[in-house]
């Protein structure tokens, strides 16, 4: 069965994010796939509609492709000289899982403001600790920015 354009675009978005730390514009994704930009713009709209990506408010630019954020957040992950932004502490580990290589992430606990090391080395966490989820999974998308 042929791979759908939506699947190709999703994978292209993630590959671009992983290679550069930046979300691709539709034109960049189109160039990477050898497709027309208009077709990719439609695919972006469809992927946003199905919550695979989230647009920045009032734009058609990618804001979130979980676990990645295209906008700066308190959760900066670095790996092999590339910087990434995670949407939350969980997503900092999600980026490590997607990259499949060592990552570094030092952030502040939003509760006690102590430093938290979310780095992953050799597939293992740098420290132990607790993550507090405020929103239950069944409600993640009611306000994904808050989640």
């Amino acid at each position: 069965m042929a791979t759908s354009v939506h699947a190709l675009v999703r994978v292209q978005i993630y590959r671009h994010l992983m290679a550069t730390g930046r979300a691709p514009s539709p034109a960049e994704a189109a160039a990477g796939l050898g497709r027309e930009t208009g077709e990719i713009e439609q695919a972006y709209r469809d992927l946003a509609e199905s919550r695979v990506i989230t647009f920045a408010p009032g734009t058609r630019a990618i804001w979130m492709a979980h676990p990645f954020s295209a906008a700066p957040t308190p959760y900066r992950v670095t790996s092999e000289g590339i910087s990434y932004w995670a949407n939350c502490a969980w997503d900092a580990l999600g980026i490590a899982a997607m990259l499949g290589r060592d990552t570094e992430c030092l952030c502040r606990c939003p509760d006690c403001e102590g430093q938290v090391d979310l780095s992953v080395k050799g597939g293992a966490l740098a420290q132990d600790g607790i993550i507090h989820f405020v929103v239950p999974p069944r409600s993640f998308w009611e306000n994904v920015a808050f989640t």
Binding site: A7, L93, A97, M98, G100, V120, I130, F133
Partner: protein, 47 residues
């Protein structure tokens, strides 16, 4: 949850998005994943 549980959750939740045939987990699959990781109770009930 513990950071270790969160790391296990990340490994189950995210890397599949790089595969062309990825699809979002349905509710029973998600519930089973949470239970494998030891995330039980009303907060983690998805259905």
């Amino acid at each position: 949850m513990s950071l270790d549980q969160c790391w296990r959750l990340s490994q189950e939740w995210y890397p599949g998005r790089l595969k062309p045939d990825w699809r979002r987990m349905n509710a029973p699959e998600m519930q089973a994943m949470f239970e494998r990781i030891g995330l039980t109770g009303e907060f983690w009930r998805v259905g």
